[in-house]
Symmetry: C2
Subunit: 320 residues, 2 copies
Amino acid sequence: MTTVSVVCGGVGAARFLRALAGIHPAEATIGVVNTGDDTVMHGLSISPDIDTITYTLAGAIDPDRGWGLREETWRAMDALGRFVAVRPCGSSAAPTWFNLGDQDLATHFYRTARLREGATLTEVTAEIAAAWGVPQQLVPMSNERVTTMVTLLDEGIEVPFQEYFVHRHHSVPVAAVRFDGVNEATLTPAALAAFNESEVVVIAPSNPLVSIAPIRALAGVDAVLSARRDSVVAISPIVGGAALKGPADRMLEELGHEASVVGVARLYTEIAATLVIDPVDAHLSSAIEAAGMRVVVTPSVMSTADIGHELARQTLAAAR
Amino acid sequence: MTTVSVVCGGVGAARFLRALAGIHPAEATIGVVNTGDDTVMHGLSISPDIDTITYTLAGAIDPDRGWGLREETWRAMDALGRFVAVRPCGSSAAPTWFNLGDQDLATHFYRTARLREGATLTEVTAEIAAAWGVPQQLVPMSNERVTTMVTLLDEGIEVPFQEYFVHRHHSVPVAAVRFDGVNEATLTPAALAAFNESEVVVIAPSNPLVSIAPIRALAGVDAVLSARRDSVVAISPIVGGAALKGPADRMLEELGHEASVVGVARLYTEIAATLVIDPVDAHLSSAIEAAGMRVVVTPSVMSTADIGHELARQTLAAAR
């Protein structure tokens, strides 16, 4: 059975994995997931991208928000409000801007307790996926903490990713991105095995600069993907010059790239032979080829299950 | 204004403090609270006795359970259940036996985050009391961790207090109690000041062996109370040979004491001049006096506000 590895951020990757499961066995699918936007809130270890993928594949994701659980309640968050007034100056306790639903909390409780017991994030991620009945293998990029740090242009300060993404609604311009701790961290053995042994590697339609880049920043990742470049296929997260979700388009421009499929191709050409783009971008095919990538044109906005299945089918076909 | 310090465990102390507030200014009341049954669950720092007192004085306690918040929901706890099945052998993650309500969680979130920021438990306890609008000064016995450890007679193992009290519903016999870490811990400066400077010290009707004893086990506490013994008044938690709540009666017997007001007197005679007992125990007055304590007889089961107020009035009067 062909094994497919998917290099994953959050929502876009989750939706691609869900689509892939419609045409390829989930048991032969491995998601290698970004943990650069992991955070600790209230002492709880939170892995937003892993959770988004787990909940999506479990059919439990809230379809409107794209994150968190459906039929969620917010009693703990609501109750946190009373502490904001008593928090001393300089304290960041009681962060009411990072919403954690009541049911979702149980996932963070379990992760936190297991990590405190000495389990690796790889082990805990597999246990949480099993608890949710997710048959895909989900693997964190690293067992060590890597923290995506974002320098905000106007404020001139560097903040952890969630401070930019959630607290500031990713609405402020970015001057730089850095992956704190990445030189001390290593790619998990399971992720390395996935990249070495899978017949196909797909780079999911995730933000190249803050979802895929943290994984690539780990020692050896670009080398192992470059060495098997022909069977690596990337799906552009930029369609018609815009990000499907999140700040990828603005961020590309702010950091000196082109907010287009061509800009994406220039970022991925070293490690992937093929770029999958939507028909609205077909006129840019020759520029992508000039950047060194083959082009596959197929609808890539997964607005229906059929479109998702066809996107997954074309993506796998491009690698074989 | 007369300042009153109350040496506190959980529910009994909370109810006495509430009664006291009816006849004595809350601003001139200091609760020094046991933290020996503090625990960490899911990575969250939990102080059950402090919370029970805070919620009671805020009028937010669930009146039937005696702990936790009224109109509470249990969504996070319910969601934790799915992780029990995937937990590896030997792991104690996903402890579904320790109920934490959704709104209650916010208190633990705040405490955990503040402690991680380097705040002392004294500071955090005051902030949480302020957030709940509690005018009494609530002071933890120690800023350092002291863990009440209970040796279970039948199982022959030593477990943290909550494993005995909650997990085993305090229904198993006890062979020993020990306060782990007490020699490395110190009485908080605020508690020491309260014991030195208050005109009256009341020992609340709490379990002498696992609520009051951890406080007494801290260096200097018995000495400072003994030195002012005449103005220290204890209220017996044993009425008619039985504990009003919890396992104090069985525990007294199991650990070689008498489960009666006389047994209580023998435990407190060194540090308190007076014992307040219920009329049902009036016939034991001479035995209490033989143990070295004066006796005040007044209804001590706080079943109505009036009884509570009269108990508080008689208790303060006994010390003056």
